[in-house]
Subunit: 342 residues, 2 copies
DNA sequence: CTCGGCCCTGAATGCGCTTTCAGTAAGCGC
DNA sequence: GCGCTTACTGAAAGCGCATTCAGGGCCGAG
């Protein structure tokens, strides 16, 4: 009952009356006389022995705890991706150290450093990066020695200058497809709820959307593009602002579903109906949007798979000389939040 | 560039031309001649040195990685609670090892064991327990030596026979309050979407609801109680089954919001309107239900706070001799998914 | 019956770090 | 200028485990 005193392998060995080495071997399933093995196992069981993972890692056994860094676990997007990560981790008997940065670059770098200290065999970075390129460089500086030391890094939905394996959503193609779908519905006047333009996710989605519009001879007035944080409230406020300015668009494209949800709420609070008055479309296809009224038209991303694939990338050796890049998703799912323009 | 080779403290010491002990002290902010300290710090910086957390933990320095076990991070309920946990963890420079059990008892116990092996100073268990009491005992057996070894355990929404600090939602009182609210609306015939009755969460919510109904002279027909997993699809299927049997209730109480969402979808697919044809109420107040159409009437739980408080409990010494128990939430929030019965 | 060979066991080493413990140089008063 | 305290520094021990290296028992073969 004395605090911080743990049963050690030596205790087990003594209880089983064998040497430390034998006890270690018995517990690790190496060849040992069955009778001795049983004695050791019984002693371990009886003493409620748990090997010290630190000692084990220090002594050279590989460490089974990987690191995952995301912006915010409570965001449905990250929660879904994290779900996939967890599934693969669980299947491989891995523990996951999950860190939420809350979009604080400093914190993200600190977490990488901690994960490096933990000698995590792999680190996953989930989500778009920082608005400031200096932070990206600082992150690179932290990642570099980790990679050089044999660490594995994989990212989801995030461009990196370093050679790391990536799982990337089809942001540009998906947004373009959405543009076509909305044009097909007859819309010609659009508003976009965007995020910080420095994020590649924003640049790609916005770019893909705008370019496709341009191809069709439709232009996107900069005044119809509202920036805001990638949150429900960010969407709500951006939409409200757009409304205050006098909305001329017949269709609003939010760069993330979460923003779209906020936008719908703002429209509703403004007495407008979706899709009768305004069509709304999102991006990501987080699980809940199916159950909204009306269900949200969006660009589908296989969120759970994004996490699964990233974990798999991080777990398998990259034998090639180039970074592996998986592009996924991007199909438009038309639901009831968008209507034909009559 | 040789794999798995890390810069060690010894390398730093050599580079700074000081002893290992001095290097350690300089890095840990103990009193060292400024000049030496600078040399050490510079060398560390230059070599991109990261202390080995394992060696450090082994050598006695306290370890700053706590464990959190939940059923599924991608469930909005857990995601929200985890968000609170992460916030407090971040504020305390703690790394969180998050494990998803996917409701597999064996896996949960394995995770506790791994966390024990990691010598995590604290373990948080989030979510209702197992249906089978034998698993609960097995978990106790795993937890016991951890507690004896000085480990701290806190649970959220989960009764335990062991003396551990707890954050408990006001399940019984909340459900009772919901019953009153629904009775006040004029409803007399109810259906309940429940989960496995062995879970205390289910027993408390169902019990509180039923008892309050009984007080008002209203009885709950067992045939109107449908069990199902605590998931969206569980709610959908349970509701569908109820509908297939011929629904007589005017109001459906789902024991979790996630189930309520499924129920609403089933009703809609069945051509029924909420709340015009059937009122629906939930429990938990996960963030999204505010944005549903109609917004869901539910029993509010301060989900993020649940996580925050649990983390705080786990981080502070329990000086008293009794386990600390925090009861939170339980207020009914009436929204548009429930209507007055005319 | 004896010797070589094999397999299993136990003693000892080292992983990287923190932390005594002892030692040395500097600083002070007389 | 001498002896003593004070303040750092450096050597070394040890955290708990995996693992290497010898040593010893047992077997079969000669």
């Amino acid at each position: 009952m004395q605090p911080r005193t743990h049963v050690t392998l030596e205790d087990v060995a003594r209880a089983a009356d064998v040497s430390l080495a034998t006890a270690s071997r018995a517990l690790n399933g190496m060849r040992v006389t069955p009778q001795l093995r049983d004695r050791v196992l019984a002693a371990a069981e009886q003493l409620a022995y748990t090997p010290n993972a630190h000692a084990r890692a220090l002594a050279g056994a590989s460490h089974r705890t990987v690191g995952v860094i995301c912006h915010d676990v409570s965001d449905p997007y990250f929660a879904a991706v994290a779900g996939g990560v967890m599934r693969i981790a669980g299947d491989n008997d891995l523990l996951v150290m999950l860190a939420s940065t809350f979009r604080d670059p400093e914190r993200e770098i600190a977490y990488v450093s901690m994960l490096r200290a933990e000698r995590a065999p792999a680190i996953l970075l989930i989500g778009s990066g920082f608005e400031d390129a200096r932070w990206e460089r600082a992150l690179d500086a932290e990642l570099k020695p980790y990679l050089d030391g044999g660490g594995r890094v994989a990212v989801v939905s995030r461009h990196r200058s370093l050679k790391v394996d990536s799982v990337l959503p089809e942001n540009r193609a998906g947004a373009a497809a959405m543009a076509r779908a909305l044009l097909d519905l007859g819309h010609r006047r659009f508003a976009v709820l965007a995020g910080p333009p420095a994020l590649t996710t924003v640049a790609d989605r916005l770019g893909g959307f705008r370019d496709e519009l341009t191809k069709a001879g439709v232009s996107l007035d900069p005044a119809d593009i509202m920036e805001g944080p990638f949150t429900r409230d960010g969407g709500y406020r951006a939409m409200t602002e757009l409304l205050a300015r006098g909305l001329t668009a017949t269709c609003v494209f939010a760069l993330t579903d979460v923003m779209a949800i906020g936008a719908c709420a703002a429209l509703r609070d403004h007495g407008l109906s979706v899709p009768d008055d305004v069509s709304v479309a999102g991006f990501d296809d987080i699980p809940i949007v199916r159950d909204l009224t009306p269900p949200l038209t969006t660009v589908a991303l296989p969120l759970q798979q994004l996490g699964e694939k990233a974990m798999e990338l991080a777990l398998t050796e990259n034998t090639g000389r180039r970074r592996r890049i998986l592009r996924m998703g991007g199909e438009v799912v038309v639901r009831a939040s968008t209507a034909k323009l009559n």
